[in-house]
């Protein structure tokens, strides 16, 4: 327990913990096997407001700070990464609109998710992954409307959202400066979905293609100005990377919990395996990494609460925490031995869920580039502080 919690935070975490272990945890193995969740799976989360924890109260959110929101999402991540991810992706999309749009646009988006709906941030395309600037979806002005055409892929919440924040080119000839951001309601004519991806892990999180075919949106659905889309996306990513890392801390904590409990019960050579120093070393490394990851996430959240943009810190957090996540979940399987490799025990799922976090929301290689560029810029002006 690396953090100091206020009484209010403790009570909130306890409330969410009671709910999520009782109502959600028992359904996860079946959802993970099937690769999808029942349609009413998030209803109770909507009622509790978990999909809008950090959203200001004026837009129907919980009005929590980032630090407290992260604490709650660690708890959700402990039960299931995909469940937590679905909710995080919703408020991240809304937060992008709040940051870049007008209060009316924020309300437009929020009013669709507040009563019980999911949202999605729609950026990636088949030929535009790490190279986000190369996207091909277009939004062409036609009178008082924009007409969107294109196919987006790997969209978290793609098939289950009520509303999207979509990145499309208003000037196809221009590079990053030609990208703009639009609010698109999922029920507009011309919006359709591909099949839900049959993923290795994070199978409770919906991932699919979203197709826009002559989708018309009023001009007031343009968020920010034309050409601002890329910077909106980058700002949103700084923020969402830190939240992804908090889910990862939850998965790490779960891996540690499961491994320690198992090591205390599993008997070999006449004693519980936790009494063996080599097993202790595995567990000690897992505990150290989990604690360090939690502290790092917490500090980034504090920076965000203080209004910092966390370009470098968000990437550092995402890269380090998701790398440590691989190690911690793999070690959990190691502690379980052969039992860890079968679906009857809970840790193989954690290892499967973990991998995507090195890839999504910017691969860790892209994070290294972001950090490198930030250092280059930082030292240009500061000269190394001497």
């Amino acid at each position: 327990m690396a953090l100091i919690y206020t009484e209010e935070q403790t009570e909130l975490i306890e409330m969410v913990r009671e709910f999520v272990w009782k109502e959600i945890a028992p359904k996860i193995p079946e959802c993970d096997r099937a690769g999808e969740c029942p349609p009413d799976f998030f209803d109770s989360a909507f009622e509790m407001g978990l999909h809008m924890l950090e959203i200001p109260e004026e837009f129907g959110g919980g009005g929590l700070d980032f630090v407290t929101t992260a604490m709650v999402f660690e708890e959700l991540g402990r039960v299931d990464g995909g469940y937590a991810q679905t909710l995080v992706s919703t408020f991240v999309a809304l937060r992008n609109v709040i940051l870049a749009g007008t209060p009316e646009q924020a309300k437009m988006f929020a009013d669709l998710v507040a009563p019980g709906g999911l949202g999605a941030f729609v950026l990636t395309e088949a030929n535009s992954g790490s190279d986000a600037a190369s996207l091909r979806t277009t939004a062409i002005r036609d009178g008082d409307e924009y007409v969107l055409n294109g196919t987006k892929t790997w969209i978290t919440n793609g098939g289950i959202s009520k509303v999207y924040a979509v990145l499309a080119k208003t000037d196809p000839a221009a590079g990053t400066k030609g990208i703009s951001c639009f609010i698109v309601e999922a029920d507009r004519p011309g919006v359709s979905w591909g099949t839900h991806e049959d993923k290795m892990g994070l199978r409770t999180s919906n991932t699919c293609d979203v197709v826009f075919k002559d989708v018309r949106v009023p001009a007031d659905h343009l968020v920010g100005a034309e050409g601002e889309g890329f910077s909106i996306a980058m700002r949103g990513l700084n923020f969402s990377r830190a939240f992804m890392a908090t889910i990862c801390v939850g998965i790490m904590q779960r891996a540690l919990d499961e491994a320690v409990v198992y090591a205390k019960t599993r008997q070999q050579f006449g004693q519980p395996i936790i009494k063996f120093q080599l097993v202790q070393k595995l567990l000690a490394d897992m505990a150290a990494q989990t604690e360090a990851a939690r502290c790092l996430v917490h500090n980034t959240m504090r920076l965000m609460d203080a209004g910092h943009s966390v370009v470098k810190e968000g990437s550092i957090t995402k890269m380090l925490v998701t790398d440590m996540l691989q190690d911690v979940t793999s070690k959990a399987v190691q502690v379980f031995g052969g039992n860890g490799y079968v679906k009857e025990y809970p840790v193989e799922k954690l290892m499967r869920d973990a991998k995507i976090y090195q890839i999504m929301e910017g691969t860790n290689e892209i994070q290294a580039l972001v950090i490198g560029r930030a250092l280059d810029k930082e030292y240009e002006t500061s000269g190394g502080g001497r």
């Binding site: 209010e8 909130l12 709910f19 407001g49 978990l50 924890l53 919980g62």
Partner: protein, 259 residues
Amino acid sequence: MKILVLVKQVPTDLGAVKLNEDHTLDRTAAGVQLNPVDKNALEAAVQLTEQLGGEVTVLSMGPATVKATLKECVAVGAHRGVAITDEAFAGSDAWATARVLAAAVRHLGGFDLVLAGKQSFDGGTGEVPVMVAELLDLPQVTGVTALEGAADALVCTQVLDGGQAKVQVALPAVVTVDEYVNTPRYPSVKSKLAANKASFDQLTNAELAVPEVGLAASGTTILSATRPPARQPGARVEGDTPAQVAENLVAALVAAHVL
């Protein structure tokens, strides 16, 4: 509709309750929670006011910690909470408790309906709401599994041996519910945070003026109290092959006169 819900703070972990030498219970190490079936009573009250309008007040007698329980109630829809806290009430049995609660209901006044869980998780006598109804001279329906509300009457369903009965009761009345009556809601983050700011009225015997209270007013005396015997561990049936395990299991069942 003005509804009062009687709620009790009970231990979370009955195993951690210690027996004092005078046969009273030391609950300090056991944690506290809102009595589970009281959540159903509160949910029923909140649903009735959502349908018919009105206000839900929760009332709880206990030590200063009952405020945490009242806060929990406000987070799931109670409009206000009242704590009855007075050292003089310590050691009250069901009768002494009911007298204080009845006095408080009268003192607060004006309720169309008093709801309660059918029994507590710790004492489990199921007597207190029944006694409160008698002391207030109100009609009562107990162990209700379904509730339909109207402005001046309630239709309550009770499960009987081999069937169920629907009972209409005129208001004001006392009704106790069981856990099948509804599924209590979870608090939302917003309501939970709002409940942190709630303040609660407090009543003591200075306001209620119940003549005899606490241990002295309790008609029952506990002569002895013991823990239930610890559960014996089960027997493990082993064998080298599944057939042998089955044979050993049958032999064990025969020896135990099960077969």
